[in-house]
């Protein structure tokens, strides 16, 4: 009897899966599935990415969709777990997604990229770890600079502008922070900058007091901060409390609007390199930032921008082809340069390398009186 009931439960599951796998009835619509971290350790980044996508889809649909087809967007949570990510990406492909959007964390990307590759479907991800694009995957595309591209810019900044010779490095021990640190250390060494203190912190760490005291007591010229936004804010608050009066140098995750909002006065003086920022002197970015704030009642960080651009990359490639062709999206994107004139939603001229890496202009910025102020614009690496 119970054998029966179990069989029935499973059969029901199978039926559900089958119904779900059936192609959508709407012929004039295009289905996009976003697989991203909406719970677990990556929830903050993943939610921003999702919001960016939602805003992009609303914009595109309001302007008539892609080649006249409205976009149906579906979000699948991965719980920041590689096994679940793989399931969700597989499901997205089984359900006939046009391209795969997400995820943002490198681990889940690593667990799912072969699936999209096998299915020959473009996967547009938010990950920045250098290793992702070194595996010869022809279907994986970034939405931001890889850490391998960003770190040399920062190291040069530390050397030439900050004129630091001994620094402390504070990084979050996840794929993002570890990847950034590993990409940064050789660049620093090459420029003769000594890392006097190497501080690993935990993802979700709340108390940075001990780390701040350590840094205060280390005889360094500057502090390189490579943490996620919330942790950056907590660190800046703790550093200010402990009177750490050293220049704080970092990336988008240190200088972003979110961090300034959270750390308040403690964020003043933080500076560094910014890839995607709603405060950048690019009107399209600032306009995006305002509309994002209006819709989600929160400031966008770089993940919001990345999500927005990801959808527009697909739109551009499809319209460029003039037809819907899953494999064609990847072929068209590879090696392309997309300008805002060609596709306003791309916001800034973006060059896509053959391996899926991106190249863009970026900025040097500083936080002054609670505002991110852009000090200089850095050109593309290989224009």
């Amino acid at each position: 009897m119970t054998t029966m009931s179990r069989a029935r439960v499973l059969a029901l599951g199978a039926a559900l899966a089958l119904t779900a796998a059936m192609p959508g009835s709407a012929q004039e619509r295009v289905k996009l599935i976003n697989v991203v971290e909406l719970s677990g350790a990556g929830a903050t980044a993943g939610t921003q990415w999702r919001n960016g996508i939602d805003l992009a889809v609303a914009d595109i649909n309001a302007r008539g969709g892609i080649l006249g087809r409205q976009i149906d967007i579906v979000h699948y949570d991965t719980q920041t777990n590689p096994g679940n990510t793989r399931a969700a990406v597989q499901r997205a492909i089984d359900e006939g997604t046009y391209s795969v959007l997400g995820p943002v964390f490198s681990g889940p990307i690593g667990a799912s990229m072969q699936i999209a590759q096998r299915a020959e479907i473009a996967q547009i991800v938010g990950g920045e770890a250098a290793g992702l694009t070194r595996q010869g995957n022809q279907f994986l595309f970034r939405t931001s600079l890889s850490q391998a591209a960003a770190m040399p810019k920062l190291a040069t900044y530390l050397k030439d502008t900050v004129k630091a010779s001994r620094i402390a490095v504070v990084w979050v021990n996840n794929d993002f922070g570890k990847g950034g640190r590993d990409a940064m250390l050789p660049e620093l060494q090459r420029r003769g900058i000594q890392v006097a203190l190497d501080v690993s912190t935990e993802q979700g760490q709340a108390d940075f007091t001990a780390d701040a005291i350590r840094i205060r007591n280390a005889n360094v010229d500057a502090v390189f901060v490579y943490l996620n936004e919330d942790e950056s804010a907590r660190f800046l608050l703790a550093a200010r409390q402990q009177n750490v009066n050293k220049p704080m140098i970092g990336e988008t995750t240190l200088l972003g609007a979110r961090v300034i909002q959270l750390a308040g006065e403690a964020a003043n003086g933080a500076r560094g390199h910014v890839g995607l920022s709603i405060d950048a002197p690019v009107p399209a970015f600032q306009d995006f930032g305002r509309r994002y704030q209006a819709r989600f009642n929160i400031a966008s960080d770089h993940n919001g921008l990345k999500g927005y651009m990801a959808v527009h990359m697909i739109k551009w490639a499809t319209e460029r082809m003039g037809r819907f062709d899953r494999k064609g999206v990847a072929d068209t994107l590879r090696g392309a340069t997309i300008t805002p004139q060609m596709e306003p939603g791309i916001l800034i001229t973006t060059k896509i390398e053959a391996n899926g890496d991106l190249d863009r202009e970026s900025f040097l910025a500083e936080v002054e009186n609670g505002q991110q102020v852009i000090k200089a614009t850095l050109p593309m690496i290989n224009p």
């Binding site: 719970s39 690993s200 108390d207 007091t209 001990a210 005291i213 907590r234 703790a238 409390q241 959270l262």
Partner: protein, 292 residues
């Protein structure tokens, strides 16, 4: 030396928070054998509720704080006892412990989905800045946290030992059966411990959120450390939970300072294992009865 003092003060401040959470933990364990795996979420949520009251109801902060605290104590103190603990307690420790895991998921995901997935600033009742004490710069907020926590724990201790209700509660904790025979309203006393647990969680939440920022995921770390603190101090003593919290906070701070920081988390855990092997009843715990 000055450096060491600064680390210890910082450790004591976080330790005081762990202690508040750990004391509630041991209280509900004593009166009703409930292991609350949602204890970290209990410290996370009140700050979110208060912020939500500000954001959605437009209340001033003080009013939101009162409303949030009251709501929390009613729902997660008394409601938790009635709706979750009562129907399950007779089936033993384990199903209830698992149910609190599910509760933790619900609290965390609700805070994220209905409020925000991002960290939020939380107004501080204490001034920022630092004071110099004998050449050591100490954060005012840390000192305030330690002071408030100690006052709260002192008040609790006074209540338990010096008031009639408190002594009844203590008797209930030590032996509910005997307490019942002595005519103590055991059910009401058990209820009281759940309310006190929720109240301590509110206090901890309000104290740390200005420094840590209010975020749905804050409970993960706090819950783990409160649990460790309770074990280190001995599961059956308020005094032990206080000491356990402070020790774990200081050890963690010193570990971050002097030991490979990527293994920082390992240090309190190794301490835990050593204590289990050397003094299994916890540093301040009573030895529970015996077998060779």
């Amino acid at each position: 030396m000055a450096e060491l003092v600064a680390y210890i003060v910082a450790g004591l401040a976080t330790g005081a928070i762990y202690a508040l959470a750990a004391i509630g933990f041991t209280l509900v364990w004593q009166t009703s054998q409930t292991i609350n795996f949602a204890q970290g979420e209990y410290v996370m949520l009140p700050a979110i509720l208060i912020l939500a009251a500000v954001a959605f109801l437009g209340l001033p902060v003080w009013a939101a704080a009162i409303l949030g605290a009251a709501l929390f104590v009613v729902v997660f103190g008394l409601g938790f006892k009635l709706a979750v603990v009562d129907p399950m307690i007779r089936h033993g420790v384990l199903p209830l412990a698992i149910a609190t895991m599910a509760l933790a998921i619900i609290m965390k995901e609700s805070a994220k989905d209905f409020f925000s997935s991002e960290a939020q600033t939380f107004p501080s009742p204490f001034p920022a800045g630092a004071v110099d004490v004998l050449g050591v710069s100490l954060s005012l907020q840390h000192i305030a946290i330690i002071a408030v926590a100690f006052v709260a724990i002192g008040a609790l201790q006074w209540f338990v030992t010096a008031t009639r209700t408190g002594r009844q509660m203590q008797a209930t904790a030590q032996n509910p059966g005997v307490a019942l025979i002595l005519g103590i309203p055991v059910a009401r006393m058990v209820m009281l411990t759940f309310a006190i647990n929720a109240g301590l969680a509110v206090l901890a939440s309000v104290l740390i959120s200005p420094i840590y920022l209010a975020k749905f995921s804050n409970g993960d770390v706090i819950g783990l450390f409160a649990f460790i603190a309770a074990i280190v101090g001995g599961f059956n003593q308020v005094r032990g939970a206080l000491a356990g919290g402070l020790i774990v906070g200081v050890v963690d701070s010193l570990a971050a300072a002097y030991i490979s920081s990527s293994y920082r988390l390992a240090v309190p855990l190794v301490l835990l294992v050593v204590i289990i092997l050397v003094k299994p009843e916890g540093l301040f715990g009573r030895r529970e009865e015996r077998r060779v």
